[in-house]
Symmetry: C2
Subunit: 423 residues, 2 copies
């Protein structure tokens, strides 16, 4: 809150710099912002679908698009974007300098393809700001102690933006994107979804982890830790979007603040699992060793000494897990492994949800009225999630959103809103 | 000659790695070469037309595609190529590591867009070779003392290949390209042109400087200085191409060794120039200050205290020189500046040509028989060049090649052959 620097950090996503024309528009926008904020640091993602295209190229030469060389490949995308934005600003007479992670010391561990930022050496950034330049930084990438180039994984541009904002103690971290901010639900599914003027860090993290794609949850975590406010807003106009900040101004009542939808996920159920200590640990250590991330774990109480373990993961990770399914059967960890490749998850998010079970009940009732069967339920302090058939998801989101926010997005339960949108 | 290391350096041009399929083929080729050469260093250019595409992108955001940010942009192309080749080799079970100029300390001066290599820190390269890896190095790029990324200008991949070969005291520097080697003339113009088994460094340098595009002349200069033999050969098969090496095995007689053609050039003539000291120096200092490279300068003897200065430059540099033309007139340096935007140059190359004026006479006669007017003549120790109308060039090359090499490329004058080909 106090003692923040006068530095404005802006992060532009790939869709905001997808073409030379859009890069010119972003340069114009930065010129405009610079009148009020003479000290600006801009973090940029690769242009449009560049990262996907580089992954496709890699897949044409290798069956294992991973490791050190993969990061060297992917990091080139952001290098192109920062160079072009630098040239576009210089063309407008604005002093600007484009920096890679190596240039500005974004130090990470050496976990290629999913590195984590350890520190940022801000000396070069301050030096260039003091020289009156707009500092443009390549998102998504880092550098190890041994000078190897790393990348931070999907959504890494947001993480760079937040980490740079934290390291500079920025006045705000603006996430400039192709939607107007955070909505009470995905507007493409729920036409009545409303733009939320503000949400708490915790709510943003839960929303982002539950399928809302407007912001990477790690970015919100970093800004929460260093108490840097985030402003999620459009790259294409100057109207305010959604502020994400500490909870002091937010209401104290338990509340549903948004509905989020998680698509393209698969459900794996281990049946007939021996009910003894260490089995679950073994299963999830196997998955971790194979580098397979899990979205949700549900284990209900055992009956007759046999347990049932269910977990949810990205649909496109199922193939890489297939060897493990066989192994678990061979080793007697599971009598049977059931794979349901096309399921979906709907979540309601809100502070202190757990303290008010009536809110979960209203969600379940709304789904029941639509005739939608709930396959699994998982709940936490801030979230209630239901796994349902993928074909019901859009209908489910509309029904649950209407239950809590009314037909046109008005505050049906007097609650404060948050929601999802797609980058 | 003696004391060379057992390291084989191969350089692959952009056309050799233009697609994922071609990158896989290069990986296969490296696997094959590795049987005989366990210690291999491979220098790679950007894929196909990548550099041109990056320049086009830059032109869409700036009218000045130059400077530090431009090099950061262009260097991404080689980063992609080395990463993909590294992944392709790893896919084949070959240990390989892809290095940027920063990784392997290719130190340059800080003349962005046309930097010159000052030194290469070979420690990392040796370390990776000792670990049994194929070392893949990004061509065309360097790094300054202040860790800024630079590029070496057009054809810079060849320069990197030669400099790396020199730094490692390689057994040979192979230039792997999309033609079979160096020819006595461009085979696309002269169907009877012959592949030359060997030429001297000096001849290769003159040929390359006179429009033959098979090799950058700086690359030949570097290898000549460190006495590293160059082998120009096809990327697509294993047959030998053209060896370029020191002159000890080459013949002592004056000889025409090849005919080369220079297209897309313009001729500028300053008329009515005051015949006093310093004028030519002023003119060419102005051009140097504007970063405009000149291919040829011809100044004939003055008459009536007025001189005439002619120079040849790339067609696409004429626009950037236009301001100077006006300035020279305004400042009384030239009474008139005549611009001929579409001319061509034909050269014969050979050791000690100057000592045998009869060879130049045969060239002029061959052109005269074709009715081709010679606009200007310039000659040096190893070259006689004639400026002619662009529309006559192909006919001129055929006629002059036939004069010296006969109708089918046989050695009409018993001379040893060299020539041009296109990368």
């Amino acid at each position: 809150m106090t003692d923040r620097s006068d530095i404005l950090v802006q992060k532009y996503g790939g869709s905001s710099v997808a073409t030379p024309e859009k890069i010119r528009a972003v340069a114009d926008r930065i010129c405009q912002c610079r009148h009020d904020h003479p000290r600006m640091v801009v973090v940029v993602s690769a242009m449009g679908k560049t990262t996907d295209q580089l992954v496709s190229l890699a897949r044409e030469v290798t069956s294992r698009p991973r490791g050190r060389e993969m990061d060297l490949l992917l990091a080139s995308g952001e290098q192109v974007a920062v160079s072009l934005l630098g040239l576009a600003l210089q063309e407008r007479g604005v002093p600007a300098i484009s920096l890679t992670a190596a240039h500005c010391g974004i130090r990470t561990d050496d976990a290629f393809n999913r590195a984590r930022i350890q520190s940022i050496d801000t000396r070069r950034i301050h030096q260039e700001l003091d020289a009156g330049k707009v500092v443009i930084i390549a998102g998504f990438q880092g550098i190890t102690e041994g000078h190897e180039i790393t990348t931070l994984g999907r959504g890494g541009g947001d993480i760079t933006g937040a980490a740079v904002a934290a390291a500079l103690n920025a006045s705000v971290c603006e996430i400039c994107t192709d939607v107007d901010g955070v909505f009470s639900a995905d507007p493409s599914t729920v036409p009545g979804a409303k733009l939320l003027p503000e949400v708490s860090f915790e709510e943003a993290i839960e929303m982002a982890s539950s399928g809302a794609k407007v912001l990477h949850p790690r970015a919100a975590e970093i800004c929460m830790k260093y108490n840097i406010p985030i402003h999620v807003r459009s790259s294409f106009h100057m109207r305010p979007g959604t502020w994400i900040h500490g909870g002091e101004t937010l209401m104290e009542e338990a509340a549903v603040v948004g509905v989020s939808a998680d698509r393209k996920i698969a459900k794996i159920t281990l049946l007939d699992v021996p009910d003894r200590p260490g089995i679950a640990a073994t299963v999830f250590q196997h998955l971790a060793n194979a580098d397979i991330n899990i979205r949700l774990i549900i284990q209900s109480a055992a009956a007759q000494n046999r347990a049932r373990i269910t977990f949810i993961l990205d649909e496109d990770l199922v193939d890489s897990a297939a060897d493990l399914f066989q192994r678990w059967k061979d080793e007697g960890i599971a009598g049977q492994v059931v794979v349901e490749p096309h399921v979906a998850k709907i979540s309601i998010i809100g502070s202190r949800l757990a303290s008010k079970p009536g809110l979960a009940a209203r969600m379940f009732a709304a789904l029941a009225r639509e005739g939608i069967n709930i396959d699994c339920i998982s709940s936490s302090e801030m979230k209630v999630a239901c796994v349902i058939g993928a074909e019901h998801l859009d209908r489910a989101v509309k029904a649950v959103h209407e239950e809590f926010f009314g037909r046109r997005g008005e505050l049906a339960n007097g609650d404060y809103l948050i929601g999802s949108a797609a980058e």
